[in-house]
Amino acid sequence: MKTTTPNCEEALHHDLEALAPLVKEGFARINGPSARVLKAIHEEAVAHALRRAARNRFAFIVRFTAVAAAVALVFGGSLQAWRAWHAIKPINQTVQLLRISTQNSTSVEHELADSSELANYLLSMQGFDRDSYFSAPDGMESLWL
């Protein structure tokens, strides 16, 4: 279908200037919507505004409760963590002490092992070995303590 281009707009406005007031006048003589319709719209507007206000109040309560619950959760969690830390503190100390004592016994054994190696080394330098040096000539009984 052939359509007009924006270039025709001027001619269109010219036609409209003649026709629009006449048509507008005709429609203006029709009374607007009845008072009943306007009242119904107003009542719906009031009812909706009230519903919205109630919804907003409810939303405020929900938001407030959510914030309070979050704060309580953080506070409760912190308290629980603090109490737990205090409860395991003596256990930690015991574990620490045990670890220290274990470390000490290991170092003594290590030292002992080191000294026997040194004794072996000194004996080997003199042409002896540990088993023959600490053995009695008449028997194989070891004198090694």
């Binding site: 007009t4 924006p6 707009e9 269109l12 409209l16 507008k24 119904a40 719209i41 507007a45 505004a49």
Partner: protein
């Protein structure tokens, strides 16, 4: 300093925002602002006062219920889009097309006979009334697609780009329909005058 703008001078979007904040008077003002244009458009499109009233009421109920979701676009374009969608639904459910010659649902008289002439007694008033009635009758004879564009422009004072947006058609199509409508109206009115 923030000057307080009287409600009458506020933009449509501001009035709707005021209503969303709880000011019902702002919505009443908005209804009043578009009362004549929107109602005339529905009268022109349906040819029935009672249907026009139902549709007019439904448009405002939809605006009220969706007022929270209104984004800061053109209120006028939004309102006309709602009006058009409702008219499409109405046409689907009811008669395919109607003219202003049709009988009103509420009575036996053609709608145009219910025109109110405030001071009908003087002869001039009667003549003007007659001419206006003829013009309306001619509008009623336009095809629906031309009539809706013509009435949106003349009754709603919508610019063509907003008409195109509301009807979801290209601007040139809107201009074309308007051109066809005015040409046809001129012919119809001339015929009436003869």
């Amino acid at each position: 300093m923030n000057a307080v703008i009287p409600d009458e001078e506020k933009s449509d979007a501001d009035l709707l925002a005021d209503y969303v904040k709880g000011n019902v008077v702002a919505l009443d003002l908005l209804v009043e602002r578009y009362r004549q244009a929107l109602f005339s458009w529905f009268i022109g499109m349906t040819g029935s006062r009672s249907d026009a009233e139902d549709l007019f009421q439904e448009v405002w109920i939809r605006i009220i219920r969706n007022s929270d979701r209104f984004k800061n676009v053109s209120f006028r374009a939004w309102m006309w889009q709602i009006a058009r969608n409702l008219l499409i639904d109405f046409r689907r459910k009811r008669k395919p097309d109607v003219s202003l010659d049709m009988v009103d649902d509420e009575g036996d008289h053609p709608l145009l006979e219910t025109l109110v002439a405030p001071n009908a007694s003087p002869r001039e008033e009667a003549e003007r009334n007659d001419l206006a009635m003829r013009a309306m009758q001619a509008v009623g004879k336009l095809p629906a697609v031309q009539r809706e564009v013509f009435l949106m422009r003349t009754q709603g004072d919508l610019p063509f780009n907003e008409i195109a947006k509301a009807l979801k058609i290209p601007l040139n199509t809107a201009l074309g329909r308007m051109h066809d409508a005015t040409t046809r109206l001129k012919k119809l009115l001339m015929k009436e005058m003869e």
